[in-house]
């Protein structure tokens, strides 16, 4: 699969402060790409460079095989974290204006706008002013403004903040629908559960450096701990524990279950899961056996804190 966006060795400094220290990223076409990192990591600086709001001190950005330039503005849709609209301007006029700034003709903009207003069931808002709308309603308009010009690359910075769960779900479905239509989505957020749910690829930026990048599944594989959670019902606890501790690292585990059983967390190291499983089946009734997959949240916290310790 080709990459729609390549960021190559981008450096950005503000005075003496380095916001991006030679960061490189590859965003595959048609993916949902999670850009993660603590506050102040450099995410916004990077996103602003991709949007040509600022320019890198060195390094380059390539969009769809071409060096990023003014003609690409219409190919990118951007929903900033700090977002808002003109309060006293009518919703319809405002959307038309912003779409035309992205290069759409008046007629195209109007047609697209009608499509989206219809789709999100907000037709009646055309002549309302933003100040008459609730925050959630304004966020919907903001979403429409972002996607109106059918961009190839969409960048959402914390897209779900400010939405109630119902509207957040509508927006999530719309994002998935856009992906289906071929758009690529870069997704910057702190909400790890939405990353798990939506993202195909992730990158972790911390203190101006990229620490991790790759397919979500590959990243998880790289961070697997060979830890298994085990539930077992046995008469001979001591014998079982003796056998287990001979070969593995064993500790108490805590998970929800309907049985009254022994709950263990077992680090199998280089051994294969079957070795553990056969040992267990010899000793009792296995009620629970699952590999503990690290969550993005775990990976995020572990990587960031490790880095701090180093």
């Amino acid at each position: 699969m080709t990459n729609i966006l390549e960021v190559r060795n981008v450096v950005k400094q503000y005075g003496d402060y380095t916001a991006l220290n030679s960061v490189s990223l590859s965003v595959p076409k048609g993916s949902i790409y999670g850009l993660l990192g603590p506050n102040g990591a450099g995410k916004t600086s990077l996103i602003r460079i991709i949007n040509q709001i600022t320019y890198p001190d060195s390094g380059e950005v390539v969009l769809d095989g071409e060096k990023l330039g003014p003609k690409h503005i219409g190919h990118i849709g951007y929903l900033p974290e700090e977002r808002g609209l003109y309060k006293s301007m009518k919703v319809g006029d405002q959307c038309l204006y912003l779409a035309q700034l992205k290069g759409l003709s008046h007629a195209e903009a109007k047609q697209q706008l009608e499509y989206w207003f219809d789709r999100l069931e907000i037709k009646g808002w055309w002549n309302k002013k933003i100040q008459e709308l609730s925050k959630g309603m304004a966020q919907k308009i903001q979403f429409v403004v972002t996607v109106l010009h059918k961009p190839k690359l969409l960048i959402f910075d914390e897209p779900f903040s400010g939405f109630d769960p119902v509207n957040a779900n509508i927006i999530k479905d719309e994002i998935l629908a856009l992906k289906k239509q071929g758009a690529t989505i870069i997704f910057s957020t702190h909400r790890m559960e939405s990353v798990e749910e939506l993202c195909d690829d992730i990158a972790l930026i911390h203190k101006s450096n990229k620490l991790i990048e790759g397919k979500l599944i590959d990243v998880k594989r790289a961070h697997r701990t060979q830890n298994f959670e085990v539930g077992i019902v046995t008469d001979n606890v001591e014998g079982l524990m003796y056998d287990l501790t001979q070969q593995f690292m064993v500790s108490q585990a805590d998970f929800k279950s309907l049985n009254d059983e022994l709950k263990l967390s077992i680090q199998i190291g280089d051994a294969r899961p079957n070795e553990l499983l056969s040992l267990l089946t010899n000793r009792g009734q296995v009620t629970h056996f699952v590999e503990k997959i690290p969550s993005v949240n775990d990976i995020f916290i572990r990587t960031v804190t490790e880095k701090v310790e180093v």
Binding site: Y14, Q52, T54, Y55, G84, L98, L101
Partner: protein, 433 residues
Amino acid sequence: MSALTLIIKREFIAKVRNKSFIVMTFLSPLIFAGIALLIGYLGSLKADQKTIAIHDETGLFFHDFKADDEHRFADYSQTDVKTLQDSVGGHAYEGVLVIPKAASNAELQQSIVYYSDEDPGIMFMENIEDVIARRLTKDNYLKSGLDSLKIQQANADVSIKLKKSSGEDSIKGINWLKITLGGLFGYLIMMFIIIYGNMVMRSVIEEKTNRIIEIIISSVKPFQLMMGKIIGTSLAGVLQFSIWAIIGLVIMAVATSLFGVDMPSAQASTQAMAMAENSGTIQVLIREAGNLPIITMIVSFIIFFVGGYFLYSSLYAAIGAAVDNETDSQQFLLPIMLPLILGVYIGFFTVINDPHGGVATTFSFIPLTSPIVMLMRIPFGVPWWQIVLSMAILFATFLGVVWFAAKIYRIGILMYGKKPTWKEMFKWMRYSN
């Protein structure tokens, strides 16, 4: 449509549709007219006529005092001075002028007293002194055997005629016309810069507080946005000024024909007219007005207006971008207001006295004051190379300032929550894009 045109259009419509803009457009001429009418009305009111008691022991002077709108004179020569003094300030009279008998005129002129508890007006006192002095002078002539008629004939009356080197007649009143025209142009530029520069600044702050700014500059360059804003606002300003001018003219025409009130704003030119009439040469005034460099004035007005407005409003835009709210903008606005005010002061105090002197000439080259000062000098005739040089300096500075302002602007619009200092703003200059 290009992005710049779109921005100009939006800014223009946003300004023009704004309620306070509409209200101000139609209300302020009415307020001005109202104030003008009020001043005219108050001016036409007659003050109460005051009575002044004259105690004239010589019997020489009483008939020389002529009553006018403000004062009339009553003969109290038969009443005792002490009694008169006691009832000063009562309803009969406001003050008592006591002219005692004296051995000589020299002694008399030192011994006249005016009793009053009110402070008499300067004009009033001068008038009284003048009346007495004239009578005494005449009397002195008589006593020394001089013929007062011959003296009057011997009095010389000098009136210097003004001519150009070409021999054409000129008149003194023309300077008033020049000052009025130059002052009007200069003042117009200052007002325009202050009103619409502030509007540009507020509009920048609005975009920042609305947080729409990041969406817009992901579509257009900050420089385009800034220029679009400045141009759009100035178009709204030109429209507003034109409406004011039209309404003002209509009101003036109506008021003059209905009430016959002289508008104070028209006073300066009326004064020039009056002076011209005094010299008896209204034709000269008209011909002189025709000789003014009208085309140069209008062309320079347009060029200096555009240059000055863009120079200042880009500074206003930069300030708007650097701050988070209007309150914080005050510390940065002062350095902008100072040269504007300075320009008008120099215009009205220095240019009038010495239009081509060192101070006036210098400040008509300094770009922050040149739009005002040079425009005030032009009616007095400025060599063309000076005008061109001043314009060149103005536009060179304008380019530099716009570059500087755009830099501050593009960094500032994305900075939130920090109240910047001058030092910090200079640090932004070093940032690359």
